[in-house]
């Protein structure tokens, strides 16, 4: 069943067409990447899904509900963790619940039940500045999850981390995602990251940006640790590189 579907969406800014007839879908439990070079309209697509920007044409359907141009439906996570520096980790995570009108006490209670699952036990009373980059991203994901339990929208969330932290965050993310039954749209320009994590990859190219290819990464999970060193991985990479370069 598809959790989120984007139907023939187009968007232009100041007379310039940025996205044209973009359609894609996200099925339950899937991780789908949108891969494209800078300036291909990735960020616009991202803003359209989150509802911050209204498309000129097309619709965005979240669990059979039309959410086109409506905020408050899908939350997201960026490279910047955007945790509020003046709130404790627990309060940061619980924020979306408070925004929805839940009492502070109930929100904290609900958030604290998940703190451990997200590998954040013992950090509840700390402030974001006291945590490492990787840990902060975990909090940001917990916050995203507490906002919308079905779909997470991620825009290069791990690109600011060093290679080793990034790898462990990948493993952690896939693990958590499976446990909490989350479906993910992952916007990135990192080809390796996309292949490692995705079930499917949409390539977005050209001006205006259109989806030119859908690649299915047909490798069962959990994927072997050295997956990125296999010839299979390399052939996917070759395919992607040749499609992205004109």
């Amino acid at each position: 069943m598809s959790v989120l579907s984007i139907e023939k969406v187009s968007k232009s800014f100041e007379g310039e067409l940025i996205l044209k007839d973009v359609s894609m879908e996200l099925r339950e439990g899937e991780l789908v990447s949108v891969l494209g070079v800078s300036g291909s309209g990735k960020t616009t697509l991202f803003n359209l899904i989150s509802g911050l920007v209204k498309p000129d044409e097309g619709r965005i359907i979240l669990e059979e509900e039309d959410v086109t141009g409506r905020t408050g439906k899908v939350s997201y996570m960026l490279q910047k963790d955007l945790l509020l520096p003046h709130k404790t980790i627990l309060d940061n995570a619980a924020l979306p619940l408070v925004l929805k009108g839940m009492s502070k006490k109930d929100a904290r209670e609900k958030a604290s039940m998940l703190i451990e699952e997200f590998g954040l036990a013992g950090t509840e009373k700390k402030y974001p500045a006291q945590l490492s980059g990787g840990m902060r991203q975990r909090v940001a994901l917990l916050r995203t999850y507490l906002f919308s339990e079905k779909v997470a929208l991620l825009d290069e969330p791990f690109s600011a981390l060093d290679m080793l932290t990034k790898q462990s965050m990948h493993a952690w993310y896939l693990d958590v995602m499976q446990k909490i039954k989350l479906s993910t749209i992952f916007v990135t320009h990192d080809i390796d990251e996309a292949i490692t994590l995705s079930d499917r990859i949409y390539l977005i190219t050209g001006k205006p940006g259109t989806i030119t290819k859908e690649i299915i990464i047909d490798v069962p999970r959990p994927r072997p640790k050295d997956f990125n060193l296999t010839t299979e991985f390399l052939s996917y990479k070759k395919e992607i590189v040749s499609s992205l370069t004109p």
Binding site: S50, G51, L52, T71, G72, S75, L82, L84, P85, H86
Partner: protein, 256 residues
């Protein structure tokens, strides 16, 4: 290690001040500069002790004006900043006016205020309000306007109302510029109160100052100048303390 560093850094400033005092003492007591023009530090201390009670009585009056004025000034500055941030047309209409009020010299409006409101505390408090609201209004406004757009977009995506965005993001993120502005306003408050007292009043450090100046009692003059500096410094310290209490999330010196 850090502690040692802070002590040595203080050592430098303390010894510079000590050196200055020694030079001053020598210049004055050897007669290089006539004593009635420049009283020596010891004379100033003597004058301070002699007039201690009078100085304290007058300080209370000045401090009262300064603090009441500061409170009102901060409140006004705060509200003006929030309104200007919320409504663009208010910003366009009011901001130039606010800048204009600051181009008028304090000394020029003080006599007018006395004329309109008499010799009581009212004109003094009004003058303090006029001088203290400006740093707060401008500092807060800059703070509110420079809150990272990404935070606000994320909050919007999570369905937050503009009221919720203000409470959860904008206001707390403006705390730091607010306190910077408050430090400036606190020191302006004391000076503003003193200036307004110069131009008429019954009590206060400014009144005392005018009196001793007319009597050519320069030792007392210096004593009151130092007292005003000390009061301003204490107020600034108080603001620092308040900031530490209100912003527990700020990394402490040792963690930096």
């Amino acid at each position: 290690m850090k502690r040692c560093q802070s002590i040595t850094s203080k050592l430098w400033s303390v010894s510079a001040i000590a050196l200055l005092l020694v030079v001053w003492q020598i210049v004055s007591s050897t007669g290089i500069v006539e004593k009635y023009l420049l009283p020596s530090p010891t004379d100033v201390i003597k004058a301070f002790i002699e007039d201690f009670n009078i100085l304290m009585e007058n300080s209370v009056v000045t401090l009262q004006e300064a603090i009441i004025g500061l409170f009102i000034g901060v409140a006004v500055g705060f509200i003006v900043a929030v309104i200007m941030d919320r409504f663009l047309y208010m910003y366009k209409a009011v901001y130039p006016l606010i800048i204009l009020t600051q181009t008028i010299p304090t000394v020029a409006i003080a006599p007018l205020l006395v004329l309109w409101f008499g010799y009581d505390v009212a004109p003094k408090i009004i003058l303090v309000v006029l001088t203290t609201f400006f740093p707060i209004a401008v500092g807060m406004l800059n703070g509110l306007k420079s809150v990272d757009k990404d935070y606000i977009n994320l909050m919007r995506a999570m369905g937050a109302s503009s009221h919720q965005i203000f409470i959860h993001v904008k206001l707390p993120m403006t705390m730091s510029p607010f306190f910077s502005a408050l430090r400036i306003s606190a020191s302006y408050a004391v000076v503003g109160a003193v200036i307004s007292e110069w131009l008429g009043g019954f009590a206060g450090l400014g009144v005392y100052m005018t009196r001793v100046r007319k009597a050519f009692a320069f030792d007392k003059m210096f004593a009151v100048i130092f007292l005003i500096s000390i009061i301003s410094l204490l107020l600034i310290k108080l603001v620092d303390l308040l900031q530490k209490m209100c912003m527990p999330w700020e990394p402490k010196e040792a963690d930096k």
